[in-house]
């Protein structure tokens, strides 16, 4: 791929009149600027409502979010002594503290390091040291991990926030009481060498200095770093994708361009996916906040019944989710009988949306589901399937405005339409690299092009279809086997709940296919290796057949429900001593 190359954009014809060919420039200088303008423009509107499973809830308006995030920014700068560009790790489930803290970090001119609350102490230590985080905001439910984590990191202060934080007093007390007495999820805070402050107290200490918050972020521009968004990738330890304010604002503009004015101020979006994940961060937090809409935050969406009161009590117009969430909802009687009346559409991402799920969703709710494709490294949206009859089932749609997508072969040369190639992307939403990892960055980012590692096929009109992860290919006697194809064949068995395919070493063929199978608990009767092979023989040529089949009770999954082949590969490496 050469510098001067201008690749064709065959998808522009499908944009029609509703989607601009070129991305309009952002109205904002930084995310802090965006938050500040939204809070002023929609001051009296409700911004966030957090709903726990029994229906208890708390709400913050745009004005409150503005004032509280100002106070938190002032706390970080005045009380913690942070400077612009310093990293603040945030380890919170969905709830009212999340936007207050995340927006406060941006207003302080600092960098947000989103961290999964379920992380183990060793994962936390790695991420805090790698990012050089100075302050940690953590949910009080996991405060017990601090005893091990804090001494091994450079953290200088810890802030604790609760799930029912900022609820009205009585519900807050009751939810906290239930956490202490019944679910026992509120451990005592260990003695630490660094100061530990509750979020409310931190805000109180920041508030006297909040008048000059604007000066903290006046100098912040599109080039400045906004997020270190950690991603495992397929190998090695987690690394931080450096996403600038400009990256985030560009992707926000791209989301808004393709949604073609479908989102409105009176919208109410159900946020059951975790905000620390880039999908919900951009799709829910930024997109809907910017237009003055309301986010319904769900701290714990599993089991899916936890969503019942939220869906009943609020006029939900959008739901973002992954395949497993939509599937789970439709298996609930209360949802199937009374799907949300005001729903406009569902937005699916994270992992492929099964066609059967999409079809059933449309039949049950009467609304479409839009599927997008993206990566942490691209903030995240790269392509989308339009929300109207232009949509093509089984496709991840067409690239968003302002970015180039090309499919290339192993030599980096573009492949003809209809031929599988690695998807590479260039555009304003592409990260500037991995934090302090020049080698990893050089491998992934070449001359402005991000190599996604996903193998895709593009048709004449620019519609893309993902074939598989390049790194997951199984090379059997020189033939490429795409795990997705084998997994799809396996999933067609009534008796199979889930399947994952990874390579194992083989003396004769170099590599061979191994399938991990989870039996469908509702299937009555036995499931044997012979049954599986007999089924596969009807669907796959010989070299694609699983050579080894392993039955499991469950498969490793990411926080948003993706099956993690890399964990299974690690098992294989250990098993064969590789």
């Amino acid at each position: 791929m050469t510098d001067g190359y201008t690749p064709p954009r065959p998808w522009l014809a499908s944009y029609g009149a509703t989607i601009p060919h070129d991305l309009p420039a952002s109205r904002y200088k930084s995310l802090a600027d965006l938050v500040d303008q939204a809070c002023q423009g929609h001051a009296k509107r409700r911004a966030f409502t957090c709903v726990v499973p029994n229906g208890m809830n708390g709400t913050l308006t745009y004005a409150q979010i503005g004032a509280m995030s100002d106070a938190f920014a002032a706390y970080l700068r005045h009380e913690c002594g942070l400077q612009p560009g310093d990293r603040v790790a945030v380890q919170l489930p969905n709830g009212l503290p999340y936007p207050v803290v995340a927006f406060g970090v941006f207003k302080a001119g600092c960098v947000l390091v989103n961290t999964n609350p379920m992380y183990t102490p060793s994962e936390m230590i790695h991420q805090f040291n790698d990012s050089g985080a100075k302050v940690l905001v953590i949910v009080d439910m996991f405060a017990d991990k601090l005893a091990e984590v804090v001494p091994q990191t450079g953290l200088q202060a810890v802030v604790l926030a609760g799930v029912p934080e900022f609820f009205p007093k009585l519900p807050e007390t009751i939810v906290r009481g239930v956490q202490i007495v019944w679910s026992r999820t509120l451990p005592p805070v260990p003695k630490l060498a660094v100061p530990v402050t509750r979020l409310r107290a931190a805000l109180a200490r920041g508030r006297p200095h909040a008048a000059n918050v604007r000066s903290f972020w006046q100098a912040t521009g599109p080039e400045d770093l906004a997020l270190l968004q950690y991603t495992g990738g397929t190998t090695g330890v987690a690394k931080g994708a450096m996403l600038s304010h400009g990256n985030m604002l560009a992707n926000l503009a791209q989301v808004q361009a393709v949604s073609g004015g479908l989102m409105a101020t009176d919208d109410c979006v159900l946020t059951a996916l975790p905000l620390y994940h880039i999908f919900a961060f951009t799709a829910n937090l930024l997109t809907f906040f910017e237009i003055g809409a309301r986010n319904i935050l769900i701290p714990s969406p599993r089991p899916v019944q936890n969503l019942q009161r939220a869906i009943e009590n609020y006029p939900i117009t959008w739901i973002t989710g992954v395949n497993t969430l939509f599937n789970g909802l439709m298996n609930e009687e209360w949802f199937a009988a009374y799907p949300p009346k005001k729903l406009r559409a569902a937005i699916a991402g994270g992992t492929a949306l099964h066609e059967a799920v999409a079809t059933r969703w449309r039949a049950m709710t009467g609304t479409p589901s839009a599927e997008g494709y993206g990566l942490t490294e691209t903030a995240p949206l790269v392509s989308f399937n339009p929300l109207d009859d232009r949509a093509r089932p089984g496709s991840i749609g067409i690239p968003v405005p302002g970015c180039d997508v090309v499919l290339v072969d192993d030599d980096g040369k573009p492949v003809p339409a209809g031929t599988p190639g690695e998807l590479i992307v260039r555009g304003p939403q592409v990260m500037s690299g991995y934090w302090q990892r020049p080698e990893e960055t050089a491998k992934t980012l070449q001359k402005g092009w991000l190599f996604t590692g996903d193998v895709a096929v593009m048709d004449e009109d620019g519609f893309l279809r993902i074939v598989d992860r390049k790194k997951d290919l199984v090379l059997v006697s020189g033939f490429n086997v795409y795990p997705n194809e084998v997994e799809d064949a396996l999933a067609k068995m009534e008796a199979v709940l889930e399947a994952a395919v990874v390579p194992i070493p083989d003396a004769k063929t170099g590599e061979a296919v191994r399938a991990y199978i989870v039996k469908n608990p509702d299937y009555e009767g036995d499931l044997t290796t012979e049954d599986i092979l007999r089924h596969c023989k009807g669907l796959l040529t010989d070299y694609k057949l699983p050579k080894s089949i392993i039955m499991r009770d469950e498969l490793p999954k990411s926080p948003i429900g993706k099956i993690l082949r890399k964990d299974l590969k690690a098992e294989v490496r250990a098993e064969f001593g590789l």
Binding site: N54, G55, M56, N57, F167, P168, L170, P171, I174, W182, R302, P303, V304, Q305, R309, E312, N313, T324, N327, G328, M330, N331, E333, W334, A337, Y338, H354, A356, V357, R360, A491, E494, L497, E498, V518, N520, P521, D522, E554
Partner: protein, 299 residues
């Protein structure tokens, strides 16, 4: 024998409990429940066919004296208690079904309880002194429907208030039983010691057997395991405080004390047995909910 004040206090607490019951449900919950009315019908069947017969049979087999037999049969004929909702909640059962069963069984109690009482009372050969007038039962039940409706309105008005009252009502359900035990046991200490083994078997057995038969009746009639667990708890857990309230409004003196004996003892033991059963049910329900989340689309 309860004092005047205690009887009044019991009445007020029952009102609050029913307020809590009302605020635990929405109009939509009703609609969902009646989309599959079979669950409720199965529940009613086990509530009003299985339980009263069990009460009568146990009274007969254990050879209970008339006062105790009257108490046991009354408990057996009672509608579901609101405490069953809190146990269902904690056992992750089908809360809507539990609430509906409690509500519907309380509604039809106006008719069924007087009928069942006179039928099994007659069968057991209880004399006129131990007959509970139908009017009393109906009157108490009608009065209790008022706070239920108010509770539903509050829930609609504000989810935080609704959920709070729901929790308070459920907790009070347990508190009332503790109150009854606390005020009654010390005064009847000697009687507890003098009471024979058969009475204890009947008192503990009615709840446990009810849960067991309720579960298998529901399974036999095609209910899934989660609904069957809900029906099971609902069947075994009777509205003990309501029985006590009816007895205090009907009898007085020594007679009241004698008839009260089994309902209060039942209320004591049912809290213990249901707690144990709930822990067990909760484990099963959690495993099933997670499996359901992962379930793939049916083709």
């Amino acid at each position: 024998m309860l004092t005047e004040l205690e009887t009044k206090l019991l009445g007020v607490m029952m009102m609050v409990i029913m307020l809590g019951m009302g605020s635990s449900m929405t109009y939509r919950d009703f609609l969902i429940a009646f989309r599959r009315p079979k669950g409720i019908l199965v529940g009613l069947l086990s509530q009003y066919m299985v339980m009263p017969f069990l009460g009568y049979a146990l009274a007969l087999i254990m050879g209970l004296p008339p006062a105790m037999a009257a108490g046991l049969i009354l408990i057996a004929c009672m509608p579901g208690g609101t405490t069953s909702n809190v146990f269902t909640y904690f056992s992750k059962g089908v809360l809507a079904l539990s609430i509906m069963m409690t509500t519907v069984s309380t509604l039809v109690a106006v008719v069924t309880v007087p009928l069942l009482l006179s039928f099994y009372g007659g069968l057991a050969g209880l004399s006129g002194d131990y007959v509970i007038p139908a009017g009393n039962v109906a009157q108490v039940l009608v009065v209790l429907l008022v706070p239920t409706v108010i509770g539903m309105g509050l829930r609609k008005l504000n989810a935080n208030i609704g959920a709070t009252i729901e929790l308070v009502g459920s907790m009070l359900g347990v508190a009332v039983i503790l109150f009854l035990i606390g005020s009654w046991v010390p005064r009847n200490y000697q009687m507890l010691l003098d009471t024979g083994f058969p009475v204890y078997v009947a008192t503990i057995g009615i709840g446990l057997t009810g849960m067991l038969l309720g579960y298998w009746l529901a399974r036999g009639l095609g209910q899934d395991s989660n609904r069957a667990r809900t029906i099971s708890l609902e069947t075994g857990i009777q509205n003990g405080p309501l029985a006590v309230l009816i007895i205090t409004l009907t009898f007085s003196g020594t007679m009241q004390q004698e008839v009260l004996f089994i309902p209060i003892l039942y209320s004591l033991f049912i809290v213990i047995t249901s707690s144990l059963i709930t822990i067990w049910y909760r484990r099963n329900a959690t495993a099933e909910a997670l499996a359901r989340d992962a379930a793939k689309v049916r083709r």
